[in-house]
């Protein structure tokens, strides 16, 4: 199809689709007034029944924990996919030549950047850990904390050489941690089965409301998810950094 034809076809179809949107959405209850008995019931039970003060976390890791299991594995799968796709190093690209070293020279970052980045690392790690461990209490959790933790090694990367990067994040360990984090989720679910409950049934003591150990299995899952997300994001970002990937091959 020519560009013009494509555009015309799309505009006509989009008009049709817009009508569908309009007709459908116009019968929605107005935003802000959508009755939600599901949400209300959840809000009522999370604190008394689960000792979790963040209802979203309760839904994510307990009430609808199985969804999150799937979600973690979507992340896990995609990271495997990205790594496999990007590590496609066996054959040379079409313009076959050996030159690889030349482009690698990045101008060294200025001292200010370097210092700032290094100083930021401990703060980032601390914040990430805080977020992972407080998932059941306050907004945040394994996912958000995991992404924050994943930015710490990248700050180091910004600050200087790959060498430091490798020291902080030995890739084998990152890959292992990612997979282990993913496996933890299933393992916890299976442990609940072994204890006589159903899969992912929250059978651990619920702990004091507001404490770090409240929520039964939720903090444990949070830790696993944090590990997995952190490892996964680091791996995915690294996969885009070709040079590092090559080193990884060896």
């Amino acid at each position: 199809m020519t560009k013009a034809a494509r555009k015309i076809l799309f505009l006509i179809s989009a008009l049709l689709l817009a009508c569908v949107f309009w007709l459908g959405y116009s019968q929605m209850p107005p935003a802000g007034f959508v009755p939600s008995t599901y949400g209300d019931r959840v809000n009522q039970i999370v604190v008394p029944q689960r000792h979790i003060t963040d209802a979203v976390t309760a839904v994510n890791f307990d009430i609808r924990g199985f969804d999150t299991l799937g979600e973690e594995f979507i992340l896990f799968t995609s990271v495997m996919g990205v790594v496999l796709l990007m590590r496609w190093r066996k054959e040379p690209i079409r313009g076959d030549h050996e030159d690889k070293a030349e482009d690698r020279r990045v101008p060294p970052p200025s001292d200010a950047v370097r210092v700032a980045s290094v100083l930021l690392v401990p703060a980032t790690v601390l914040f990430g850990v805080y977020m992972v461990t407080h998932g059941q209490l306050t907004p945040g959790g394994g996912f958000q904390g995991g992404v924050i933790l994943a930015t710490a090694p990248l700050l180091l990367y910004l600050a200087g050489t790959f060498g430091q990067f490798h020291q902080v994040a030995p890739l084998r360990m990152v890959a292992f941690a990612e997979a282990a984090g993913a496996a933890t989720y299933i393992f916890i679910g299976g442990a609940c089965l072994a204890l006589g409950g159903s899969f992912l049934q929250n059978l651990l003591p619920l702990g004091q409301i507001g404490s770090l150990t409240s929520g039964g299995i939720v903090p444990l899952i949070d830790l696993g998810v944090g590990l997995e997300v952190c490892g996964g994001i680091v791996l995915a970002l690294l996969a885009f950094l070709e040079e590092l990937v090559e080193e990884k091959e060896e």
Binding site: K3, S26, A31, V42, L85, T138
Partner: protein, 114 residues
């Protein structure tokens, strides 16, 4: 005014589609897919919101107080994770396509025909 979020959501869906259809660069195209995804955030957000109610965090407010819908927010969290992962995959594919073809312009990729 209470229908504005729905309108915004529909608009994002359509404009994202427009971007995908008219894109001249695969990376741009992937990002437009991201805009389509953000349409679903706005829709879900609007559905979960209840005027005058606080966030469902029962630390400062008494447990059992009516709050906005946490279920929808949990769905949105899942949605965001799905977005970032799918985006990573799409970008990886785009990079590989570029590596093989030396171009990111879908108009210049003519490998598959018929």
């Amino acid at each position: 005014m209470n229908f504005l979020p729905y309108l915004v959501s529909a608009w994002l869906f359509l404009i994202g589609l427009y971007g995908v259809v008219t894109s001249r660069n695969l990376v741009h195209l992937c990002i437009c897919v991201g805009v389509i995804q953000s349409s679903s955030y706005v829709l879900l957000l609007a559905i979960g919101y209840r005027i005058g109610r606080p966030a469902p965090i029962f630390i400062d407010i008494k447990p059992g107080t009516p709050a906005v819908d946490p279920v929808v927010q949990a769905l949105m969290l899942t949605d965001i994770v799905v977005e970032v992962t799918v985006m990573a995959l799409l970008l990886a594919l785009a990079v590989q396509i570029h590596k093989r073809n030396g171009t990111l312009d879908p108009n210049q990729l003519h490998a598959i025909k018929g």
